[in-house]
C-alpha cells in the first residue's frame, strides 16, 4: 500500500494539479465561472491528498529515503531531475496538509467574485501555485529549482492581484514581485558561483563538490543564497512585502502563502547551510540566529501595532519565521562545531515550529478570512461581539490564538520548548562568542512569547468579545460548512501535534540526522529529553490540566450552594455604555508601543478646536492622531533607492546621443581589451 503511494502518489498529484489548471481555464473560457472555481479547488484538494499520501508513506516507511526520477528526453535529461529525500517528504506533507484545508475552505467562497473577476484564471494560478511549491521542494537541479521558484512567485503574484479592481492590491503585488525578483537574482548568483566550481547544476554534484571550493567563494555563495532566501522568507528588514501582499490575496491564498510558501525558503536554507555546506563556518549559524532574534521581537512588536487583522497575522509570520531561524541557526552552529546530536535536536525544533506555524497560521488566516467575509472589512476596530454571531469560527480562532502564543496544551508550546532547550544547551556548552549570541536569541524568544500572547488577547478580544463596535458586525453570519471543515481539520491537527509530540519528534529527529555528511547517529535520542533528566511530556500536562479542571468543578459542586444566576447589564457606574467606551485594538496595545517607543518611534498629534477663539474653556472637537512611521521604508529603502537614482543620473551623462561618442566608447573599449589581453 505504502509502496503504491510512494510510486504513484506524486505523479497523481501533479496530474491533478495540471488537470485542475487546464480545466479551470477551459471552463472559464466557456463562461462556466462557478464550475471552473469548484472544479479547480476540488482537483487541487485531490492532488494535495495524493501528495500527502505519498509524503506520509515516504516519511514513515522510506528508510533514508532517496527517491530519484528523471525525464529521459534528450537535453531535458539532466535538467529535469527530481529527488525526494526525507526532508523533502516532510515539506511536501506540510504543503499538502495546508493545501487541502485551504482548498476545501476556499471552494465555497466565490460569490463575491462572480461577475467582477475571471474565476477561471484564479483556478489556473491556484493549481500552478501549489504544484510549483511541491516542485520547489523536490527539484534536484538548480535549473528546475529556479524554474519552480519563479513559477511559485509568478502564480502567487497573480493570486495577490486577483482583486485587481482594488487599488492597493495592485501596488502590493508590484512590491511583492519586485522583492521576489530581487531575491531570485541573488539566488541565481549563488547558483552561478556553485556552477563555477562544481561545473554542474545538479544538486548531487554540487553537494559533493562544495568541500573543494575555496573558502571565500563558499561564503560568497552562502551570502548570496541567504539574502535571496531571506527576502522570500520575510526576514526583517526584507519583510516589507509580506504585510502588503498577504492581506491583498484572498484568505485561503494568504493562508497558503503565509503558512507554507515562505517555508520553502526555510527548506532551501536547510539545503544550503546543512546539506550543501556541512562545513559552513559557525558564524553563519550565529548570523541566522541574530536575524531570527531581530525578526521575532520586531515582528511581534509590529504585529501589536496593527489593527488590520490580516496585516497583524502577516507580521506574526515574520515573528514565527524568526523563531524558526532561532532553531535553524542554533542547529547550524552545533553542526559546525561537530555537535551532531545537539544540531539534530535544534533542527528538530526548527522543523517542528515550521509545521506548527503552517498549521496554526493557516487556521488563523482561514478563520480571519471568514470573519472578513462575514463583515466585509479587515479593520478590527469595527468588529466586536462576533463570538455570539459566529461561535464556531471564534472557537477556531481561539485554538489558533492559544497555539500561536505558544501556550500549552497546543502544538506551539512544544516547538517553543524545543527551541528554548537548544538555545540553553548552546549557552551551556558552546564557546563564548556563540554563548552571547545564543543568550540574545533566548532573550528575544522569551519576550516574543509574552508579546505574542498579548497581541492575540488583543486580536481575539477586539474581534470576538464584548459588544459590536461598528454596524458591520451586526449582520455577520457563521461561516459555511465547507469552510468549517477546512478550519476544523487544522484545529484538530493543532491539538494532535500538541498531544502527539512524543511520536512526532522522533520522526523529525530522523530528518535531523538524515544528512549523511554528518557523523551518522547510531541511536537516535529522544529530542524531548531536554536540559534535565525528566523528559517533557505533553500528555502529562494535558492530563494535569484536565484533572485540574475536574477538581475545580468538583470543588464548586461540593461547596457552592445552588445559587441562581441573574443576567444583568454590565456594571457601568451609572452612565450608559456605548461601543466607544470599549477598549479598542489600538488602545489595547498603546502602552506596549509606548514602552518600546525607542524601537517603534510612534507619533501623535493632538489638535483641539475651540468654540470661541478667545476663551479656551469649551472645546468643540479634539482629535488625536496616533501614527507609526514605516521605519524600514524611511531608513533603509528610500536611501538605497535615492542612491540608485543618483547613480543612474550619473550614468546617463555618458549617453550623449551623439554617434561619434559611441564610436569613441567602442574604440576605447577595444584598446583596453587589447592591452588587457596582450599584457
Amino acid at each position: 500500500m505504502a509502496l503504491f503511494f510512494i510510486q504513484y502518489g506524486l505523479w497523481t498529484a501533479f496530474g491533478c494539479f495540471a488537470l485542475g489548471a487546464t480545466l479551470s481555464v477551459i471552463l472559464g473560457a466557456y463562461k462556466a465561472e462557478k464550475e471552473s472555481w469548484i472544479v479547480s479547488h476540488a482537483l487541487a484538494t485531490a492532488g494535495a491528498v495524493a501528495a500527502l499520501s505519498f509524503s506520509v508513506s515516504a516519511l514513515f516507511f522510506g528508510e533514508k529515503l532517496s527517491y530519484y526520477s528523471s525525464f529521459p528526453i534528450g537535453i531535458m535529461q539532466n535538467l529535469i531531475t527530481l529527488r525526494v529525500d526525507i526532508l523533502a517528504a516532510f515539506f511536501i506533507a506540510v504543503i499538502s496538509v495546508v493545501a487541502i484545508a485551504a482548498s476545501i475552505f476556499g471552494s465555497g467562497y466565490f460569490k463575491q467574485y462572480l461577475g467582477t473577476y475571471r474565476l477561471g484564471h484564479f483556478g489556473f494560478f491556484y493549481n500552478l501555485f501549489i504544484a510549483s511549491m511541491v516542485l520547489v521542494v523536490i527539484a534536484n537541479n538548480a535549473f528546475l529549482f529556479l524554474l519552480a521558484w519563479e513559477g511559485m512567485a509568478i502564480a502567487s503574484y497573480f493570486l495577490v492581484i486577483f482583486e485587481r479592481k482594488v487599488e492597493e492590491n495592485v501596488g502590493a503585488g508590484m512590491l511583492y514581485i519586485l522583492i521576489s525578483q530581487l531575491g531570485v537574482a541573488f539566488l541565481f548568483g549563488a547558483f552561478l558561483v556553485l556552477y563555477r566550481f562544481s561545473g554542474s547544476w545538479d544538486f548531487d554534484v554540487i553537494r559533493v563538490s562544495t568541500g573543494s571550493m575555496p573558502l571565500l567563494f563558499q561564503n560568497i555563495a552562502l551570502a548570496l543564497a541567504l539574502i535571496g532566501l531571506a527576502s522570500k522568507a520575510g526576514v526583517i528588514p526584507l519583510h516589507i512585502w509580506l504585510p502588503e501582499a498577504h492581506p491583498a490575496a484572498p484568505s485561503h491564498v494568504s493562508a497558503l502563502m503565509s503558512g507554507v510558501m515562505i517555508k520553502t525558503a526555510i527548506f532551501m536554507m536547510i539545503r544550503f547551510f546543512i546539506d550543501f555546506f556541512p562545513t559552513a563556518h559557525f558564524s553563519w549559524g550565529l548570523i541566522l540566529l541574530g536575524l531570527g532574534a531581530v525578526s521575532s521581537i520586531l515582528g511581534v512588536l509590529h504585529a501589536l501595532t496593527e489593527h488590520d487583522i490580516k496585516r497583524l497575522l502577516a507580521f506574526h509570520s515574520v515573528e514565527n519565521i524568526g523563531i524558526i531561524l532561532l532553531g535553524l541557526g542554533a542547529s547550524i552552529t552545533f553542526f559546525s562545531f561537530g555537535l551532531t546530536l545537539f544540531g539534530a535536536a535544534a533542527l528538530v525544533a526548527a522543523l517542528y515550529h515550521t509545521v506548527n506555524h503552517a498549521l496554526f497560521k493557516a487556521l488563523l488566516f482561514l478563520s480571519a478570512g471568514s470573519v472578513v467575509h462575514a463583515t466585509g472589512t479587515r479593520n478590527m476596530e469595527e468588529y466586536g461581539g462576533l463570538i455570539k454571531l459566529m461561535p464556531y469560527t471564534s472557537a477556531m480562532f481561539l485554538v489558533g490564538a492559544v497555539a500561536i502564543s505558544g501556550l500549552p496544551p497546543f502544538n506551539g508550546f512544544v516547538s517553543e520548548w524545543l527551541t528554548f532547550q537548544s538555545l540553553f544547551a548552546g549557552i551551556a556548552i558552546l564557546p563564548i562568542v556563540a554563548k552571547i549570541v545564543f543568550l540574545v536569541g533566548g532573550a528575544s524568544l522569551a519576550f516574543t512569547g509574552g508579546l505574542a500572547a498579548a497581541c492575540f488577547v488583543k486580536a481575539f478580544g477586539a474581534t470576538f468579545l464584548a459588544r459590536s463596535r461598528g454596524h458591520v458586525s451586526a449582520h455577520a453570519h457563521e461561516a459555511s460548512a465547507l469552510a468549517m471543515t477546512g478550519m476544523g481539520m487544522l484545529a484538530l491537527l493543532c491539538v494532535l501535534f500538541g498531544i502527539g509530540s512524543g511520536t512526532i519528534a522522533p520522526i523529525l529527529m530522523r530528518i535531523g540526522s538524515s544528512f549523511s555528511s554528518h557523523a551518522a547517529l547510531t541511536a537516535l535520542p529522544d529530542p524531548l529529553q531536554g536540559l534535565g533528566s525528566t523528559a517533557f511530556s505533553m500528555p502529562a500536562i494535558i492530563i494535569a490540566l484536565i484533572t485540574g479542571l475536574l477538581a475545580t468543578g468538583a470543588i464548586v459542586w461540593m461547596w457552592a450552594g445552588r445559587p441562581t444566576i441573574r443576567i444583568s447589564r454590565t456594571w457601568d457606574c451609572g452612565v450608559t455604555l456605548t461601543p466607544r467606551m470599549e477598549i479598542t485594538a489600538t488602545g489595547f496595545s498603546r502602552s506596549i508601543i509606548l514602552i518600546f517607543r525607542g524601537l517603534l518611534k510612534p507619533t501623535s498629534q493632538t489638535s483641539i478646536e475651540y468654540d470661541d477663539a478667545q476663551s479656551h474653556y469649551f472645546t468643540k472637537t479634539k482629535t488625536v492622531n496616533l501614527g507609526l512611521p514605516d521605519l524600514y521604508r524611511d531608513r533603509i529603502y528610500v536611501p538605497i533607492f535615492a542612491l540608485i537614482e543618483r547613480g543612474a543620473a550619473r550614468a546617463r551623462r555618458i549617453q550623449t546621443g551623439n554617434l561619434n561618442t559611441y564610436l569613441l566608447y567602442i574604440f576605447i573599449t577595444l584598446i583596453v581589451l587589447l592591452v588587457w589581453t596582450f599584457r
Partner: protein, 307 residues
C-alpha cells in the same frame, strides 16, 4: 510518611493559600498599627462568596463564564509540579520550569480575555495593562529560573532542589542574583506593590482587580482563590530554590522541613507586606524599568554561571 507528604503536595497549596493572603493582610495591618482581620479571614470570604448568587453581564460570552475554571484549574495543575517537602512533586511533568511559566501565561491569557469580555471600560484597560506586564515579566521569570537550570543541569523544580543540596558556597552569588530577579517577577505576576495595588478602590490604579470587577459569587471566589494559589506557588518556589536550607537538604525529617518551610513562607510574606507598607506604587511607565531590571539580573547570573 511518604504518602502524607504526597497528599500534602497535592492539596497543600490550595489549602494554605488563603491563609497566606490573610497573613500578608495581617502584617500590613500591624504595620499601620491596626489589629486587622484574623489570618483566616480569607477562608470566611471565600465561603461567603461560594454561597452568594451571581450576576453576569448580558454582554458576556462563554469565555467569561468558563475563564474562572481555567484560571483556577491551571493553578492546580502547576501546583502539582512543585515539591513542598523533600524533592517529591505530585506530578513532575508540570514541574518543568518552562511549563510552569507557560501554564501561568495560559491562566493570564484567559483572565485577560475574561476582562475584555464584558465590554466595560475597566476590564478592557485592566487586561491591556495585565498583558503588558505579563509580557515584560516573562523574560525575567524565564531567565531567573534558567540560571538555576543551567547551574544545576536540571529543568524541573524537583531536580533543581535535589541538585542544590550540594551547592557550593560560591553558587549563592548567581543564586542570589537570580533570586532577586525572580522576586521582582513574583511581585509583578501577583499584582503586588510596586506594580499593582491588590487592595485598591480606585479604578484608575487597578490592574488585576479591574479584570475581575465583573465577577460575583462562586466565580469571583475561584478567581481570588486562584490569585492566592499563584502567590503561594511563587513564594514556595522562591523559598525552596533561592533560599538556602531547602527541605531536601534537611534530610528526611519531614516535620523539620515543614517547620522550616512555614518559617520561610512567613518571612517572605512579611517582606511583601513590608514592601507594600513602605513603598509607593510605581508610575505605569516606570514599571517596565523594574521588569527589565529583573530580566537583566537573570542575564548577569547566567553570565556568571556559564562563563
Amino acid at each position: 510518611m511518604e504518602s502524607v507528604i504526597y497528599i500534602l503536595t497535592i492539596i497543600g497549596i490550595p489549602l494554605l493559600s488563603p491563609a497566606v493572603l490573610g497573613l500578608i493582610r495581617k502584617m500590613k495591618a500591624l504595620m499601620q498599627s491596626r489589629h486587622g482581620a484574623s489570618i483566616f479571614q480569607p477562608y470566611l470570604d471565600l465561603a461567603k462568596l461560594f454561597q452568594k448568587n451571581e450576576v453576569i453581564s448580558e454582554d458576556a460570552s462563554w469565555i467569561f463564564t468558563f475563564a474562572p475554571y481555567i484560571v483556577f484549574g491551571s493553578t492546580l495543575a502547576i501546583a502539582w509540579g512543585i515539591p513542598l517537602l523533600g524533592t517529591v512533586a505530585a506530578l513532575p511533568a508540570t514541574g518543568d520550569f518552562l511549563v510552569f511559566v507557560y501554564l501561568i501565561a495560559l491562566g493570564t491569557f484567559f483572565l485577560a480575555l475574561a476582562g475584555m469580555d464584558t465590554g466595560g471600560g475597566f476590564g478592557g484597560f485592566g487586561s491591556s495593562r495585565e498583558m503588558t506586564f505579563a509580557a515584560l515579566t516573562e523574560g525575567g521569570l524565564i531567565f531567573s529560573l534558567a540560571g538555576v537550570a543551567l547551574m544545576t543541569g536540571a529543568s524541573t523544580f524537583a531536580g533543581m532542589m535535589s541538585a542544590l543540596q550540594a551547592a557550593p558556597l560560591f553558587a549563592y552569588l548567581p543564586l542570589s542574583l537570580s533570586g532577586a530577579a525572580f522576586f521582582l517577577a513574583l511581585l509583578s505576576e501577583n499584582a503586588r506593590y510596586p506594580v499593582d495595588n491588590p487592595a485598591t478602590h480606585l479604578e484608575l490604579t487597578m490592574v488585576h482587580e479591574a479584570m475581575i470587577l465583573e465577577y460575583s459569587g462562586k466565580r469571583l471566589a475561584l478567581m481570588e482563590w486562584a490569585a492566592g494559589n499563584k502567590l503561594l506557588m511563587f513564594i514556595v518556589i522562591f523559598a525552596n530554590i533561592f533560599v538556602p536550607w531547602s527541605p531536601a537538604a534537611l534530610g528526611t525529617s519531614a516535620v523539620a522541613a515543614l517547620v522550616v518551610l512555614f518559617a520561610k513562607i512567613t518571612i517572605i510574606a512579611g517582606t511583601i507586606a513590608l514592601i507594600e507598607s513602605t513603598m509607593s506604587k510605581f508610575r505605569f511607565f516606570r514599571v517596565p524599568d523594574l521588569l527589565f531590571t529583573s530580566f537583566v539580573l537573570g542575564v548577569i547570573s547566567i553570565v556568571i554561571i556559564v562563563l
